[in-house]
Each structure stands twice: as structure tokens, then as C-alpha cells.
């Protein structure tokens, strides 16, 4: 599989301290869309998400890391992105803003229900949004989530349970009437 081999060669090259642009492009094309969606889902601001995305890859390229497979590279990138998100929250604890661009691009026949789901998900805490996204969109197991978030695997189990219950309660009326 082309992207996988590119990612492996990139991680090997990164360890050796020489990453080529072609390898980076393969890695970036394979990993940036889900990573950006994750950042955007948690921070809710496209401009911030783009900044953090760029920062994530810059940090990845500037650091030497151990040899990693595709899954580990993905977890590593999510780890950097999550740390950057937390730093951002620490520095500026801004309230979530409904971004016009996000609403406009969601134009669809069931726009109203989509906006309902969006506003519901926005009621979750950033940490809860992170955990749910990594578990249910990225399909990560508890160990991978622990790697990506810097939390202990045992804590993930409980935090994910709470986040799932909360999200299910919030989403229940929306899905019932949708």
C-alpha cells in the first residue's frame, strides 16, 4: 500500500534526521484530513485548527523520534496535536464560537438536524470531544487513545464511559425527533 510504505520510510528517515519532501507529502496527504477534522471538532475554529495542524507537522519534522509504524505515527501526530490543543486552551480559555464557515459548508437537506447535532456536541467538554472522536471516528483502542492524549489507559476507560453517557443523553432527543 503506497501511503503506508511512505509513512514507514518517512519515520525511518526522520530517525536518521533526513526527511524528504516527497515522503512528507505522502504522510501529510494520508494523515492531515483526519487530523484537521479532529482539531476542528475539538477547537471549533478553522483558523485555529489550521494553525495547530501546521504546528503539529512542524514539530513532528523538527524532532527526532524512534522508529514507528503507521499506527504509532498516527498516534504520535494526534499526541502532538492534543498537546497543542491543551496548550491553547490553557493560554486562552475562550468560549466556543459558532463559526459561519462551518455552518455554510454544512448546507444539506437535513441542515437543521445537523446543526442540532453540532450544537449538542458543542456542549461536551473539549476532553470529552477528544475522547469520543478518537474512539468512535478514528477507531482507536484505549492504549492508542492513551498514547494520543497522554492519559493512562485505565483512566481512558472511565472517562470514555462518562463522555459516552453524557453524549448519548444529549443526543437522544435530537436523534429521536430527527
Amino acid at each position: 500500500m503506497e501511503p503506508s510504505s511512505g509513512i514507514v520510510s518517512l519515520t525511518l528517515a526522520a530517525q536518521a534526521g533526513a526527511v524528504h519532501e516527497a515522503d512528507f507529502r505522502i504522510l501529510y496527504d494520508a494523515t492531515s484530513p483526519p487530523l484537521r477534522a479532529y482539531l476542528l471538532h475539538v477547537c471549533r475554529r478553522p483558523d485555529v485548527a489550521d494553525d495547530l495542524l501546521q504546528e503539529t507537522y512542524c514539530r513532528y519534522l523538527m524532532r527526532r523520534h524512534p522508529v514507528m509504524d503507521e499506527s504509532q505515527t498516527r498516534s504520535w501526530l494526534f499526541r502532538i496535536a492534543t498537546n497543542l490543543l491543551h496548550d491553547r486552551v490553557r493560554v486562552r480559555s475562550r468560549a466556543d464560537v459558532v463559526v459561519p464557515e462551518m455552518v455554510e459548508r454544512g448546507v444539506a437537506p437535513n441542515l437543521e438536524s445537523r446543526l442540532d447535532v453540532q450544537s449538542t456536541l458543542r456542549q461536551l467538554k473539549p476532553r470529552e470531544r477528544e475522547l469520543l472522536w478518537l474512539a468512535y471516528v478514528e477507531g482507536m483502542n484505549h492504549e492508542e487513545i492513551a498514547t494520543a492524549t497522554g492519559l493512562r489507559a485505565l483512566s481512558i476507560k472511565i472517562l470514555l464511559f462518562r463522555a459516552r453517557r453524557k453524549a448519548a443523553l444529549l443526543l437522544a432527543p435530537k436523534t429521536r425527533f430527527a
Partner: protein, 165 residues
């Protein structure tokens, strides 16, 4: 006792993502409250994910160039450590030289203000070597200051992003 998770939860989440449901999994998701919740959340998040992934992200080239620019800045910052240390030493040297010169060639008023200070420094150097020593100290201070200033001015200039390849 409240169950924190179900073993079938990842399978349910995967089935929502792929759209492939086996009959057994479908039946399980209907009977298990945890998997029902996982299904609801997965569907909502997947919809959100599909929408968010359509937005254009920064290009790989842009990120690559930015990373290279930062790497160069980082290297330059490390390289300029010696120059900054040199600047500090220059400042110390300049202050010491000024103190020595001002005490050695102090005006009578300054001598009166601090006679002991003047005497201490004056005793360090005297005679024909004095002019040579003073000239050498001034020349050294001038050279170090000019060199440090030039190098530090170069180091402070930020690298401009490279618009092309």
C-alpha cells in the same frame, strides 16, 4: 454493577464507519444499551467528520516550507549562542576598560571623589607602556564591539518565508 464498556463496542463503531453490519452485530446493538449509545454517537460523529473533512487544509508544500524555515531559524538561534555570549563579554570588557581608563586618567575632581579607587588602578600600570596598553585596550574594545554588533545584527534578522521552490 454498571458496565463501563462492551466488548462489541469497537465492532459497532467500525460497522457504523464501514456500513457493514452482520446480523448478529445488528441484533446485539439493539439489545445492548452500551452499543446502542456507541451507535448513536458514532453516527453523529461520523456525520460531523464527513462534513469537516471536506474543508481544504493547508497544502503540504506550505507546511513543509514552514518546517524548513523553522529548522533554519532553530539552527541559527543555536549558532548565535556564542555570539550572544561574546556580546555579554564585550559589555563586561567595555565597562571594565572604561572604569580602568577613567580611574587612571581621572580628573582631580574624580580623584577627590574616590582617591583610593584612583590609586589602586593607577598603580597597576605606569611608565612608557601605559600609552601602548591604553591604545591596545581601546583597539581591542573597538574590534570586539564592531564584530559582535555586526554578527548579532545578522542573527536578529528573521528568515523570510520562501515563496517559491
Amino acid at each position: 454493577m454498571t458496565r463501563l464498556r462492551c466488548d462489541q463496542e469497537p465492532a459497532v463503531s467500525r460497522a457504523v464507519r464501514t456500513g457493514f453490519w452482520s446480523d448478529a452485530l445488528e441484533r446485539h446493538a439493539e439489545s445492548c444499551s452500551i452499543c446502542a449509545e456507541a451507535r448513536t454517537i458514532s453516527q453523529a460523529l461520523l456525520e460531523e467528520s464527513t462534513r469537516l473533512r471536506t474543508a481544504a487544509s493547508p497544502g503540504a508544500t506550505q507546511v513543509w516550507l514552514e518546517a524548513r524555515r523553522r529548522a533554519r531559524l532553530h539552527l541559527r538561534h543555536r549558532a548565535s549562542l556564542w555570539f550572544r555570549a561574546l556580546r555579554t563579554l564585550t559589555c563586561v570588557y567595555a565597562v571594565a576598560a572604561f572604569a580602568w581608563l577613567s580611574s587612571h586618567h581621572a580628573t582631580p575632581a574624580a580623584s577627590r571623589w574616590s582617591p583610593s579607587f584612583h590609586a589602586d588602578f593607577a598603580s597597576l600600570l605606569s611608565g612608557p607602556a601605559e600609552i601602548l596598553a591604553v591604545a591596545g585596550a581601546l583597539a581591542a574594545a573597538l574590534c570586539i564591539s564592531m564584530g559582535s554588533w555586526y554578527l548579532l545584527r545578522e542573527a536578529r534578522q528573521p528568515l523570510q518565508p520562501n515563496p517559491g521552490r
